[in-house]
Symmetry: C2
Subunit: 137 residues, 2 copies
């Protein structure tokens, strides 16, 4: 009986040693990272525009981050395989032609590929009309 108990302890420790590393960094590494920081500021081009707002967005293993609509934003990015340039616009919105340019940036990783995207819109209304959820923060 004491031998059986010793075996049980040994097996338990072995299982912990084998399975333990799957929590923490190793578990995170099972997914190619889809983790981004999205920023927006006023100006033409990211070099000239100080970031006024910034949110984080992770899409693997589940949507998370400080983005106010992480689930919708991840679904849209999954629809374009992480291609920011082909995100589809939202509904029809009428914007003024006021020139007050805003620049958005996305940086980080999408399914293990490096992401560095920026786009300047003539004003914030045009930005909001051009993509549905990803840059709505």
């Amino acid at each position: 009986m004491r031998n059986a108990a010793r075996w049980a302890v040994t097996l338990g420790l072995t299982a912990t040693a084998v399975c333990g590393p799957l929590t923490g960094p190793a578990a995170a590494a099972l997914h190619a990272p889809s983790t981004l920081v999205l920023t927006m500021g006023h100006g033409v081009g990211a070099a000239a525009a100080a970031p006024e707002r910034a949110v984080t967005l992770s899409c693997a293993p589940t949507p998370s981050g400080t983005h106010p609509a992480a689930t919708e934003a991840c679904a849209e990015l999954q629809g374009t395989d992480g291609d920011f340039a082909t995100l589809t616009p939202g509904g029809r919105v009428v914007c003024t032609k006021e020139y007050n340019p805003v620049v958005v940036m996305a940086e980080g990783a999408w399914q293990g590929r490096r992401v560095s995207y920026e786009r300047t819109y003539s004003n914030e209304c045009v930005k909001n009309a051009s993509v549905t959820s990803v840059f709505a923060f």
Copy 2:
């Protein structure tokens, strides 16, 4: 008495209308954003190295994100005013001279300034010995 109740409701609604917008995006905008995505991968230079791990780090209003030691990482960055190049190394560590380069990147915003930092180390041990918490993930 009914008049008093009506006044109470009116005051309550006014308070909600005035104070309500301070939660959500407006509240976040009270702090210049300090929000980053930190990535690491194997290779020389970010252009050649696919991100293998990525974490988010926000330092305002409080440390948060998927970084495993957000509080320590934010404290270190506050100590250098967000200057990644002058982060101090940890304790003395002896590393092999194996050449298996890793590159780390930090992108996003620090106190409203744009951040785009990358550095290549000759191997992961050298990376871990070079900065204490910020790139330890």
